[in-house]
Symmetry: C2
Subunit: 236 residues, 2 copies
Amino acid sequence: MESYDENIYLPSVSVDAVIFSFQNGELKVLLREYRGGLKRYGLPGGFVGMREDIDAAAYRVVHEAVGVKGVPLFQFHTFGSMQRYHRETMAAFLYANNIPYTNEHWILKRFISVGYYALADFSKVTITPGHESESCDWYDVSQLPEMLWDHTDIVIKAIEALREDIDSKLLSVNLLPEYFTMGELQLLYESIMGKTYIRSGFQRKMLSLGILERVEKKSTGQAYRSPYLYRFMPKA
Amino acid sequence: MESYDENIYLPSVSVDAVIFSFQNGELKVLLREYRGGLKRYGLPGGFVGMREDIDAAAYRVVHEAVGVKGVPLFQFHTFGSMQRYHRETMAAFLYANNIPYTNEHWILKRFISVGYYALADFSKVTITPGHESESCDWYDVSQLPEMLWDHTDIVIKAIEALREDIDSKLLSVNLLPEYFTMGELQLLYESIMGKTYIRSGFQRKMLSLGILERVEKKSTGQAYRSPYLYRFMPKA
C-alpha cells in the first residue's frame, strides 16, 4: 500500500494535470473516478515529494494516477484561492484510501495546486487507473461530469491556456497523422477553439504561420479531386 | 515587529513579484536590498497567510516589501525545483530579521514560489523599502545585480512572459502618456523585446493589431513636421 506518512510529501502543495486528446472531431479530457466513499470525478493529481521538483512530481503523478507516460506537460497556472479548500472532501479521501484519520493529518490542511496541461495523441496513449482511482476515461470537454474541488475551473483555465498557445503547441505535439488535409487541421482547431472558421480564411491564416509544408499528393486514380496533404515543418 | 510565528503562514509556499517599469528608454525592474547579514538583492516577495488567497498575498507582499499599491499583478509561473532551496540563506534571513533560530523553523524548510509580474507607470508609482529591506530601487534588466536564490531566473522568465503577452498587456497597463508617437511606442517595444524594429514594419504591425487610434495633431506652428499622435483605443 502507498504511504501517506507525514515527511514524505511537501505540505500545502499539490499538482493537477489536464490531459487533452482529440478524437472523432471532439476535444477530450482525461478524468478519473475516485475510489470508495468519494465516488466523484477529478483530474489526475497528487502530492509533491519532499525533495522532488514540482515538474517531476507532475510526471510521476500522471503516471501513478492514470498510467500515462511520455506525454509532455506544460505548467499553466497555480490555483491558490481559499475557496478551493474543503476539509470534508479530504477527510473522505482519507477514508476512501484507508488512511488512518487524525485531526491534524497533513492531508486535511489547505493545498495550493500547480496546474499542468498536456496534449496526448489518442491513438498512442494507454490509460490505466491507479490505486486511488476506481476508473479513468476520456470525457468531452463540453460534457464534463461533476468534479471534486475546483477541478472544473482548472479544466476551463487549461482550455484558455491551450487556446493561447495553440499554434506553437500543435507544432510540438502533433495530434494529427503525419500527413493531413487542411480540413482535418481545421476540425482540430475548431474543437479546441470552440468555434467554426471560414475555410478560405482558416487556410490563409495557417499558411501564414509558416509551420506547414505542402506535400505531393499520392498518385491515386482520383488524385485530381483529392485535397492537398500537409505536414508540420521539421523544427529548424 | 512583524511576527513570523508558525501557523500564521502556509508552509512551503511563497510569492515573488517582478515589477517592471519603463524609464528613459530602458526596461527596469524593482529590486530590494535585504537587511543585515544578507546584504544582497532580491525581488519583493514573502509568505502566504494561512487563510489568504495567493493572489491577495502577492498584492499584500508587494505593498509591504516595496510600498507599491494598485499595480495589477499577473501570475506567470511557479518555481518549484529543488535547486532553489538554500537552507543557509534562509538561516541568514532569520538572523537578519532577529527571528529566533530553531533547527526546525518553518522558514528553513523548502519553498516553492508563485511568480507574478507587473507593469508599473514609473511616473505614478512610489517605492518605499519595507521592514525586511535595507533599500529598494529600479535596476536595468540588462544590468541586474547578484540576487539571492533563483531570483535572476524568475526575472528572466518574467521577461519571457511579458514578451508573449506584450500586445494585450500594454493595452491594459499603459506605460506611455495618453497621447504618444509611433516612435515612442516603438522605443517601449524595443526595450521590452530586447531587439530593434524597422520603422515601417513596426508601424504596420501595430496598426494591424487594431488597438491604436490616431488622434488629431495639436495645432502648433510646426504641425506640418510633427509626427502623428496615437492613443490606445478605449476597451469595447
